[in-house]
Amino acid sequence: MDALVAQLQMQFRDYTISLYQQGFLDDQFTELKKLQDEGSPDFVAEVLSLFFEDCVKLIGNMARALDQTGTVDYSQVGASVHQLKGSSSSVGAKRVKGLCVTFKEYCEAKNYEGCVRCLQQVDIEYKTLKTKLQDMFNLEKQIIQAGGIVPQVDIN
């Protein structure tokens, strides 16, 4: 069993590091992990859950606001983008946050095409991140099921 655990742990380590290197996650995700302990063993999963729910809700708001035939209320779009920027920043969702920064600028410039493009991108991006994180959590589960402990990954 030890060989399996070691293999899984290495896979987990490599996968986690790749997420940081590819810009999906940043330091704030590391900070988030620090908040998880025996008292709150599922904190990261809970927060991410909330975050992804937020994504669905806020992107829905943005889509509706941009779908107005006639004048678009850019401040409404901007308000949702601002919120998404905040929560993505708090979980360390680096790419989503980066898109929100650009999105916000397009809102301020009242650039319709720019906004629509950003909306599509942010939708793809959060879904991609969700899949990646699910893969990461599955690796964690496999390690535990194989009798091992999830290693602390040092991002340098």
């Binding site: 709150s40 909330l50 708090s90």
Partner: protein, 224 residues
Amino acid sequence: MGIVTESSQFHVLAVDDSLFDRKMIERLLQKSSCQVTTVDSGSKALEFLGLRESDDINDPNAPSTSPQTHQEVEINLIITDYCMPGMTGYDLLKKVKESAAFKSIPVVIMSSENVPARISRCLEEGAEEFFLKPVKLADLTKLKPHMMKTKLKKESEKLAKEENALLIPVIEEDSSVIEILPLSQELESEQHEPMLSSNKRKAMEEVISTDRSRPKYNDITTSV
């Protein structure tokens, strides 16, 4: 929630309109060994403190506590988001600092936006710190000295109050017979020496005719 009895833990009141941010700040504070109460608006924060707004008469859910009597909960720090609908974090800061009862509570402002004018305005109004979101664990270690200050201050104030209450001298007619002691000492001597020296006891018994001349120890309420 109930009444919080004084403990060695710091109690922080966290204010943020975003559920997500409330969850984050709550965990951060818990991880820093603080007791946390979260509310979703400035007005709820004031309500919790017992500082109700005068135009809140239409709110059926508002508790009917007056500022003077609401001392059950001790808050060592208020941490609030800046951007909130209705009352902003800045408005809340002002209200707290304008209140005689609560102006000594340190207030910390959080914001996702780095606006220097906003930051200096908050600091000028009396905010202890201004944190940029996302707030990190390391940021919260800066708060311990602020919370320590108010906790120690409150405890020493309380002690001073209790001592003052007990320092009312015993006014006797025959003062040559009775040694006037600060009451705290008198209490102590009674506790440690239930059998007073015969002279003193006799003298006291001679003079004490009515209850009025002797302070009623039982009436002094001390809050621990």
